[in-house]
Each structure stands twice: as C-alpha cells, then as structure tokens.
Symmetry: C2
Subunit: 687 residues, 2 copies
C-alpha cells in the first residue's frame, strides 16, 4: 500500500459514527447527521453474511452507489483493516459515473480484511464549485469569498504543524490581496483545495451499515495443477503396500509432468472389521488392504500413519522431498471411522446408537456401509467432537500440511465447516480446503460461502459445447466467482467418466486440455496419464480399483500421454492468462463440436486462445472468429498465432481463422496471440 494512495484515518474515524447502524433502524431520533445514501456495494455476499475471496497480491476493487440530496460535493473513501488490526486504513474512492463510486486497496497479506465505505460532504469543494459557477454571471462575490476564507481558517486550525504553516501562508496572501479577481484565482487553486480537504470537517459523515470481509488466500487457492495418487500403489513389488520411501522415487517423474500439488487419499490405519475386498466386495481376503476411507485400527486413527506406508517420520521426510521437487502435499480429510477406530472405545458417545446400545454403521437405505461408523455431529458432546476434528487438522498443519481435500463435506453441518475452517485459518491462514461435495448446487455453493477455498465441480459430466459454455459462464461470470473456486478434476478414484471410457486416448487428451485451460486449478488422478479406462461395465467405477487393492503400475506403458501432460502444465506455467479465473470468454466457432474460448491478462500482454474438438472420433473443421477487439488488434493489423501444442506458427490478418482438428493426431489448438511489432522477439518469422 503506497502512502500516497492510502492515508491513515483522521480523528472522525475513531468516533462513534464508525459503528455501523443496525440494519433495520427503529424510528428513534438519528444520533448523527449521517445522511448520505451508500448502497449496492460490490462485492458483497448475502448482505455481508459471508466473506468474498481473492488472492494475495490482488488489487481489491470495491464499488458502490453513493449520493445525497442537493448539490453538495461528496467525498468517499474505502476503509479496510486486516484481521490483526483494530484501526482502519482509508483510501479515497473516485466518482465513476451516475452516482457510482470505486476504490481499491492491495491485498498485501495472506489474511482476512474487513472493509467498509465512508462518505462525507466537502464544504470547501461545494463552495469552490458554487464560486466557479457564480463568477460567470455575478459581479460582487465578496460575501462568497468571505465564506471560503472561513472554511480555510477552520481547516488551518485543525491542520498538523507543517500544513498549518502552508494554510496560514494562503490566508496571509488572501488577506493581502485587494482585487476580487486575484482573490478568486487564489481561492480556486488546487494546492489550496488539497490542503483544506485534508483537514476540513467531514460534514454528514456516513459509514456504510456493514463491515464486509474479503479473504486474501495464497495464490495456490486459485492456481495449481494437482496430481492424485495412492501412495501404496507407487512401488514395484506386487502384493504389498509401497512405502513413503518408494513414493519418494516417483517424485522426479511427477515433477517432470509439472504438477504443483500432490494429493494423497487417506494415509491412516485401515479398519479390519467388515473390510472391503477387491471391486468393493463385502468379503476381503487376508491380504486385501481395504479401503483407506475406512479409517482407524489398533495402530491409531486420523492422526496416525498406516504402518504399511511407514512412520510419521517417513511421512515428514516424504513431505520435505515433495517440497524439494516443487510440490506440496494435500491430505485427505475423511470423517469416517472404521469399527476399529480408537474413537469407538474412547468416545462411544460420538456415534449413533441403537436402542440396545450398539453403534450404528452408515446406511442410506437400502444401501449399507458396514465397514464405516459415521460420527454424530449432533451428539450430546458435539463440542468435544468438533474440537477433536479441529485438533486433527491442526495436528497435520503442524507437520507442514497446508492443503486438505475434504471428503463428502455435504454430509456434515455447514456450520461445522464454517467454524473449523475459520479456526484452522486463524492459526494458519495459508491452509487451503478443497470441498469434495458432489451434491445439489445450493449445498455446493453454501459450503463455498461457508469457507471452503476450492470445490470439486460437475466438470466430469459436462461434455457438449453448450453444457460446458453454460457451466463455465455460471462459474466465472455470475456471483459465484466471488466465493466459489472450481478445481477441475478430469477423473477421480470414483469417477471414470463415460467420455473417457468410450473416447480413448483422444478423449484423455482433449479433456485434459479443457480442464487445464478452462480452470486455473485442475487435477488428474494417477492412471490418467496412462489413459487407464477399464471400468466395471455400466458404471463409472474403475475395474480393480486401487481403492481396494495393492497395485503396481507400469508408468511407461504404451499409449501414455505423460509428455502431453507435461506440455500442458508447461503452457500453463508460461502463460499468466491461464492463472486467472474470471477472464474466461467464449468465442464463435462455426461447428457445434468445436469449442473456442480464450483468456488474457488484464494488461493484454498475455493472450491465449483455445479450440477443442469435442468429438473423440472424427476430425472437425471450423471457422473461428478471433476476438480482435478484445485483443486490441486492429482489423487490418498483422498478428501471429502460435500453436503452443504443436509449435506451429501462423501469420494472420482479420478476424477469421480456419482450423481442422483431428482427434487422432491433435484434438486441440492452444494459441498464444502476439501482435507484430518491431520490438517483438519473434521478428525474424515475419521477414
């Protein structure tokens, strides 16, 4: 925050008028002349009930309707303070048009900021404007000039010593001047106005009713490529769990693919009672490892490590190694207990009970999940249970974990998440939470508003051009953009979408392009780079899912698209336009099977256009309409289209560009658009 832009708050800021008025005032006599209307503040969620979200380094812009009766000249300022501060900073707002005002401050730190708006009448500015008007038509302005003199004198009395001296100099010159013409010129100088404005009384000072909040998350909240893998399947020895030490050997290959986040399904001891066998069968053999989502056995619960993977020390070492490979670990937070979880004996009161006193397993009639005991968030000792959940999260946060992917948050109270996320972030504001809520849209949105940093989405089930366009417009252009950050996973251990089962390698390629370029956060679940597409027929479940088995993978098997993944992630890294969310725009491609969209940075310096053939079987052609106006390119200007996937370059004039996309060679084009200027490094191509 530059000092020039921001000023510390003057005396009024600490007066009682700072307190927001109650939202539905009674007819009691107003306490002060807070008569300015401040409304339609943006951003503001549900009347300020929920915070909006941004990232550190963002310029946070706030706009509002601000107006008052009559012709007085208004001033307005944005007030803000970070969560640690009690005093407000203040930065001026400017009138844009039609009673709309705008102001901004920089989100310098990874924390929460409160903000609100204050406005007041500048008597001196109002006086200046009246004087300017009257000098055109009126000859005797002695009375008006006396008024101005009184305003300057009052400001001088309030001014700090240096400025008081300046103001007194102005007053002396004013007194010495004998011609009305000179006096008017003196009175209307901007230097004088700047000085007076700083110290004059704030007439009709009005503070907006509400304190609003913006969360400034770290950049990873918005931008990152995720890789999900089962640690126990990262080794080379069949029939037993791989260890964290074996996982460590996989890190260079994953780093080479260019991922930022390494997400691990639960790493805790797995229950033995009613353990699931291969393909989710009810009977497990003695060697079957069970689902890592049935957490807890004699080795411990949510704060323990499954012995087959190693020890806590091994986990710590693996985390450091991942960090050394440019990645951070995301842990799964799955609030499920196996019947063997320590809570079952330590806190039987946290579970649901039958009248005979036995504990209930999970069920959603007619389905039964006998390997899992759900926790009762409404039990008598709910406070103890909630606190324990917080303790578990902080336990891992203390070991350096900064991202939690939360399993099925929509089956626990939204109010619990609102509380626990805020508590954890109060200790560690850099901790991110990804909501795995595949449920009704209103619940998904409510969880995001309540505090989840990111959310899974319906992306896996959006295939047609219209579906994708509608969904992305909703995510990036509606009010959802203020609080809901999508993380586009191409697949998950539970979702092998039909398009991948049917579309083969071309589908794996173009769905990857869509995920990686439509959303700044995206992820794949390992096996995707191998185009693994064997499903249990008629389902979206993987055949022989590693959720229930030890697996050994051939990471170099034929048909793998490992290099393609690496290329995508390199393109993402090199193009800041792809790090943003709200900058997505859809453009015209005259073919219902080719989707065409683009992103550019605010300063137009980086612009990327993407065309994808959504048909995995047939080549498609389309005439694309290049958005020249958006790109700042003149209709007759030459520009370069550089296909970053193929490294093919083209020189173009005009808005029409024809394209052919063959899924069997390359189903997508990702074009960097470069204007042709002599300063351009690609100059030699144009000769």
């Amino acid at each position: 925050m530059s000092l020039k832009h921001s000023e510390s708050v003057t005396h009024e800021a600490k007066s009682s008028t700072l307190d927001p008025r109650p939202s539905n005032r009674l007819a009691s006599f107003p306490e002060s002349l807070a008569t300015i209307v401040i409304e339609r503040v943006l951003p503001e969620l549900d009347g300020g009930r929920y915070p909006v979200k941004r990232e550190v380094g963002d310029r946070f812009e706030v706009t509002a309707d601000i107006f008052k009766e009559g012709h007085d000249i208004l001033m307005a300022a944005l007030r803000y303070r970070s969560s640690g501060e009690s005093d407000w900073h203040e930065t001026p707002m400017r009138h844009v048009e039609n009673d709309r005002w705008a102001g901004w401050f920089d989100l310098a730190d990874n924390t929460r900021y409160d903000y609100t708006i204050v406005s007041w009448v500048s008597a001196f500015e109002s006086w200046r404007q009246e004087l300017s008007k009257k000098r055109e038509t009126q000859t005797d302005l002695q009375s008006e000039l006396s008024e101005g003199y009184a305003l300057v004198k009052a400001a001088a009395q309030r001014a700090g010593s240096a400025d008081r001296t300046h103001l007194h100099e102005h007053l002396l010159r004013w007194e010495a001047s004998d011609s009305q013409h000179t006096l008017i010129r003196l009175a209307l100088t901007d230097t004088l106005a700047d000085l007076v404005r700083r110290y004059e009384e704030r007439v009709a000072l009005t503070v907006y009713d509400r304190h609003l909040t913006v969360i400034a998350d770290r950049i990873r909240a918005r931008y990152g490529a995720w890789y999900e893998m089962f640690p126990r399947s990262q080794g080379a020895v069949p029939g037993r769990s791989a260890t964290f030490n074996e996982c460590e050997r996989r890190l260079p290959a994953i780093q080479a693919m260019g991922f930022d986040v390494l997400y691990l399904p639960p790493i805790h001891p797995i229950g033995r009672t009613n353990r699931k066998g291969p393909n989710n069968s009810l009977q497990a053999g003695p060697e079957d490892p069970g689902s890592p989502y049935a957490i807890g056995n004699e080795h411990g619960g949510h704060d323990a490590i499954e012995p087959g993977l190693g020890t806590l020390a091994d986990f710590d070492r693996f985390g450091r190694a991942a960090h050394d490979h440019g990645m951070e670990i995301a842990l799964d937070f799955a609030i499920n207990c196996s019947p063997d979880h320590p809570y079952v004996t330590q806190h039987p009161d946290w579970f649901y009970h039958r009248p005979d006193g036995t504990i209930k397993y999970a069920e959603n009639p007619p389905k039964k999940y006998q390997d899992i005991y759900p926790l009762d968030f409404y039990c008598r000792d709910w406070r103890g249970l909630w606190q324990e959940m917080k303790r578990v999260l902080l336990f891992w946060a203390d070991r350096g974990v900064r991202i939690f992917r939360v399993d099925n948050p929509h089956t626990k109270p939204v109010a619990f998440w609102e509380w626990v996320i805020r508590e954890v972030q109060a200790h560690n504001p850099d901790v991110l939470f990804l909501s795995e809520a595949f449920t009704r849209p209103k619940m998904m949105r409510a969880l995001a508003k309540a505090g989840f940093t990111q959310s899974y989405t319906y992306f896996t089930w959006r295939n047609s051009k219209q579906e994708l366009t509608d969904y992305l417009v909703e995510l990036t252009q509606s009010e959802m953009k203020e609080y809901f950050r999508a993380n586009f996973f191409t697949n998950t251990p539970d979702i092998l979408p039909e398009i991948l089962q049917q579309g083969g390698r071309p589908a794996f390629k173009f769905r990857l392009v869509l995920a990686a370029t439509l959303s700044p956060s995206y992820g794949i679940y390992s096996g995707y780079e191998l185009c693994e597409s064997r499903a249990i027929p008629g389902t979206e479940d993987y055949l022989h899912s590693e959720k229930y088995e030890h697996k050994v993978w051939d990471w170099d098997r034929p048909g793998a698209i490992t290099d393609y993944v690496a290329t995508l992630n390199r393109i993402r890294r090199e193009n800041p336009a792809l790090h943003e969310y709200e900058n997505l725009r859809f453009y015209s491609a005259e073919n219902e099977q080719i989707i065409f969209y683009g992103k550019m940075t605010f300063d137009q310096r980086n612009a990327v256009l993407v065309a994808v053939n959504l048909n995995p079987f047939q080549a498609q052609t389309a005439r694309l309409t290049i958005p020249l106006a958006d790109l700042g390119i003149a209709p007759d200007e030459t520009y370069q289209m550089h296909n970053l996937l193929t490294d093919h370059r083209d020189l173009v004039i005009g808005e029409t560009y024809s394209i052919r996309l063959d899924p069997h060679t390359e189903p997508a084009g990702i074009f960097a658009i470069r204007r042709w200027t002599r300063r351009e490094q690609d100059f030699d191509y144009f000769l």
Copy 2:
C-alpha cells in the same frame, strides 16, 4: 389469520436462539446447533435494511432456500408479528421444489410486520421415512421400532393434557401390539405423525439471521384516482381567491368524474417579499396572489390557512364535505419559506446565512429564487427543525389529513424522510406520502425505500411503445415492485408535456387511458379534462399558470373530455384487475404505434386488455395476439371481447384479433374478456 393455518409459537420461540446471529460471525464456538442453511429469502431488500410494501388484506408470501447436510427431514415456519406485538406467530412453510420453501400470512392490519424464518429437523419424520424405506428390504425392524417408540414417548411428555392423552393411547396400542406388521402400520399413521410433530424437540433449530419488515399500507397506497386543483381557482368571481366554501360547490362535479383523492397545492399564507407575478415574472402587481409554494407571512406559516381561502374551520368543513363526496384530501407538504415566514424571526438559526448575518435565498447558480428561503437541515439545531417538521405533519394529521404529497423531497436528507415518515406513521399508520422527486433514478428509488408510500415517475416523458414498455416492466417486474409504487400523473402545474401540447384532444384521451390503466394509482391536474394545452412556447410550462394568478375556469367549455374521465374511472372501479400493480403484462400488436397490454386478477375472474394508438394524428390498425393461455381460454374456445369504452361487443375464437384505432374518434380500446359459459350473465348476446 385462521387458527388452522397459524399456530402460536411453542416454547423454543422464546429461547435465546431466536435472536438473529450477527451478520458476520466471528470464529467463536457456535452457541447452539443452528446448522440449517436459510438463505435467498424473498422478499428482502438490501439484506433487510429497508422494509418491503404491501397492502392490508394481501396474502404475504415469503420464500427461501432451506437445506441441511444429510437426509434429515426438515420443517420450516414463517414467524411474524405486528409492530405492537412482542411474541411471534408462526405459520408452516412448505417445500416447493429444489430446496425452495414457501409460506404466507395475511396482512390483516394497517401496520408494520416483522418476519423471519425458522427451520428444524423433525426426528420423527426422518425416522418415518427411514422406516418406510427399510420395510421394503429389511425383515427385522425391532430396533428401528424401538427408536420410534422412544420419540413418541418423549413427545407425549411435552404434550398438553388433551394431546398427551391421545399420545398415551397410541403408546398403549403400540405396547399391546405383538406383530411387527401391525406395529409398522400403527407407527406410520398420519394422525400419530401430526401429534408427535407438534410436540417433538426441534433439533438443529435455526433462525434466519435477520428480522425483515413488511409495511401493510391501506389500499389507497396502491389504488386511487387523484384530482389536483388550486382551491383559489375553483370559484366564479374573477380577480379574487375562491374560498373553501366555493370549492365545496365543485365537489359534486369532481365526484361525478370518479376521483378518490383531491390533492391541493399549498393552502398556507403566501409571502409578500419578492412575490412572483404572472408567468413566474419577478415583479408582482398589488393584486397578484403569488405562488402558494412561497409559504408564510404575517398570518402564519405551515400550520396556517391563507385567509383568502378561509379559516381552519372552513378547511375542516371542506374536508368533511369531500369525505361525504367519497374523496379524501391530499395536502402538499412543501418545505419552503418565504422571507416573511414566522420561522425567519422565530428560528433564524434554521436558515443559511451569509458572513454578514443575512439569510440566503434559494439558488442553483445561475438561477436565483429570491422569494424563497431554504431551511438548513444540517443547522446546529437540526433536531429542533426536524421535530418541527414532524409537528406540522401531525398538526394536519390531527385535522384528518391522511395523504401528503411532498414537494421536492430529493432536496432534503433521505434520512430525514426515513425518520419523519416512520414517526408520523407510528402515530397514524394510515397516512400516505407521495414523493414528488423528479430526479435521478437512484435517488427516486432511495426515497421510496426510505419510506415514501408512492412516487411520481417519468411517465409524462415516456411516449413511444418501447419507452413505455421498458419503463413499466422495470416498475412492475423488477425488485422495484417491492417498494416503489408509481403514481402516474398525466400532467402537473409544472409539466404540460409536449405530447399534450402537440397532440390535442386525441392525446389527452389516450394519455389518460395509459395513466389510468397502466398504473392503479394515477392522477390529473385540473384543466386536463378541459384539454388545456396553452404553453409558454418552448417550455413545458402552462401559459398564465394558476401558480401565479387567480383564475376562473369554464368547466363546461367545448371539447372537454369530462365524460371520458368519468368513464375511465368507472371502468377502473368496476374492474379489480386494474387495482393491481404487478399483474401488468405486455402483448404483441403488430404495429409500432399501437401498444397492447393486459391485467388480470390472480383468480382470472377479471381480465382487461388495453390497446392504445400512440399516434394522436393518424388512425392505426394492428393484429393483436390475445394471450389465450394467460387467460385460461382454449385455442378453439369462443370468448367475448367487450370494449368498455364503446360498449361494443365481439365474439372471438382464436388468438388473433384485428383492430383499427382512429384518434379522432377513439384512440383506445379497453376490453373486458369473458369466457362464454352458460352461467354467463351476458348469455343473451350469444344467441
């Protein structure tokens, strides 16, 4: 409010959970398990900052998104109380679809109601649903049935004596039953569910964050025909003011035209200093009466009567006479003081002063209004000034005045209006305020939100079909409909619109039809019925305006449309569809000069369609598309179109109806649509 629909609130309603949560909670531990999400409540203005408006007798419907994690069965209720009550009433809400709930209560009284929403989990309903599902697939349900028994028993302990007896009977039968099949049937009966639901514990009880408010105004707030007249011009003797007694003689003629409200410009003593002469000239002759908006002289100020009109007793008598003629008086509340107003000597501190101590007249450079001293709502004694304004309003309210038309409210603080209207309505909830704010849209809306019952609009300047459609859609279909009630004046003493100056009698006719049928509240300024259209050239000002002169009118002069006005007001009275606001819909007429729209009552019993030729010079024809689906008429059904202006009737089948409107005979058609049934009283016409 029927007892069946509404129930008094059970014990939880008075517990601490009733208090709304602060709108931006801190991370402190939740005080209770209020875990249900209640959001997107409609209607709700600016997060509850302002009340919404309805009229007495309305059924007030409230909807909201209400949901919770998991599969529990939710209950929800609307809570409300009128301003005099401290306890809440409660009425059930029903689930509509997709987590949207709706409920309603009747606005029985002319007062303010607070409302909010409460939701909770019904353990018994959740249990019933689970049992119903399980009985399909599971044989042993003993444990489940025991759970239900416990829930019924707990409810019985809470029940009132009569219901407790019933519940104990159920429990006895339960205990006596030996077959699981019989038990299940017993457990799932609706009678039992109804009883238990009434007394079971409200699990996860959640109250919406905010108390919202709805104002139930009397019907005149929405529906009424206004007639504006200068009392001093209602006589027959040239050169002097008519008296209230002479005005009384005009009442039968005004009643015959069918008006509900008789609105009088200021009736107070008029200033002498710098009094304005004819046509707003700066020099008044000794006999010139001056503008009634320059209020106050030696006879008194805002609580006095201009002696030329009579005495306070005369005014009271005139008010009673108006009432006897089916009309009520609307008084002008114009906060202007002439230099001779008593305030000037009694409260010189309420005015603006020059440095030399003299009082400033009104000006908006370069314009000067030397006959008026504006009051300074920000003066040191602003509290005294505001209280005096309230006293003046209550003075007239005490004399039976129940409508104030407020002159230029946008030049006084919005916060003042919010306070003073609420204060006056606290004493007299039936007092209505009409805002004469011809200013920027945001200020007009802010005044309405702050409390004005009705507002003047831009109607006088909306002439084309597109302009009228856009404006009316905004007024009746946007959020404005919740708080902004339009009153469509065809003309005012300050606005003789171009269309009337140019369009002559046809324009006077169709602008009247538009005003009277587009808006349930509308008005004319006297002279309109005479088609008075002489303007000061190049302006919208009347030539020889009665604002500055004593006038004598020939109320029977040739070309008058007095009967047309009477017909319009009769049609309005006889058709309840025209008493509503939000029910306006526009329909297709294949001619840019013919506008076609309709209104119908909620029950479709009264339906009116209106077609207006907006061209005052040329006849126009158009094919209208009758909205058969809206009207509930089948495509092959015969229906009657009865033109209420001409009394011409037509028998129609199908959606197309052709019309020709000649401005020189009849520029509009107002059609009552009647379905043809044997019960129809118009049966003989169809033979």
